[in-house]
Amino acid sequence: MPSKFTTVLIAVSGTLALTFGVAAGGDAVAAAQSDQKIASWSPSDLRVSKTLNPVTIGACNAGFGDVSVAALNAKGFGKIDLKCGHEKAGYVHIRTRHQRDWQTLVDQAGGGAPWDDLMMFALAQATSAPMTGFPRATPRDANKLCYVTPIQLKNRQGRVIKTFYPSVVVSKNNRIVITNFPTTTPYCN
């Protein structure tokens, strides 16, 4: 009996989080993807995090790995999802492994914005408008696709602080984002 009750709760929570995640986060990401001219980010923009649904992130924190944080249209490949995932892949993996890298960039631009606003913006840009030569398979694994694009990091006054390259790795089998980390030069090669 207790196990049945638990199952129902998980199903309801998962459904709610999934619905909110795609409807809210998906709109902002789609908006970012539709504007091909946007290749810069500033802490004053806050394009994505206003709609990064707390319920979705709460579901990630609660261990619902299959919940979608955002649905994206990856150039040359089609629909993919950034799912909550776990320590090995997805939003939780990116947060665990690279939150500090993303937050450092945000702080270099003046701070005052959450790390995942920049991470999500860079993810949307890289997958929708990858630079020439991308996407391409990672060197030793044909099942992993890598998307890279340059992003200008600007401060609140609009001055360019630096240009960096998000490296987004996608699992072709599962159509999910595995990781996304910011590098100084195009990587995955």
């Binding site: 320590e87 890298d101 450092t104 990672t138 960096f164 390259y165 490296s167 990781t179 100084t184 995955c188």
Partner: protein, 103 residues
């Protein structure tokens, strides 16, 4: 009298999917210019670092968290420790060398 404290930059040995160089100097959050590794470490160490990252790309499974065999897992872990020790020996006077075997 003023006391000047100069912090030593952290050099992190770790790897992620698609990361073909397993040190954090490639990250956009790295403070300052990238080190000129050709003058700082031996060609052999440089090659081993890249091979270690490529090994992870080839065998690290994001779904299972496994390498496909215990032998591969052992090689990955032992090679990581060997690389960490060698990095400390060759550039430990310049950087605070750390290791993160998360996989």
């Amino acid at each position: 009298m003023q006391l000047k404290v100069e912090l030593v930059q952290e050099l992190l040995l770790s790897v992620d999917y698609g990361q073909m160089w397993p040190l954090n100097d490639i990250m956009a959050s790295w403070d300052g210019e990238r080190p000129d590794w050709d003058t700082l470490i031996t060609p052999e160490l440089k090659k081993r670092l890249r091979e270690w990252a490529l090994f992870f790309d080839e065998f690290g499974n994001d779904e299972t968290g496994l390498f496909g065999s215990e032998e591969r897992r052992r090689w990955f872990d032992l090679e990581a420790v060997g690389l960490f020790n060698e990095l400390r020996r060759q550039v430990g006077h310049l950087y605070d060398v750390k290791i993160d075997l998360w996989f």
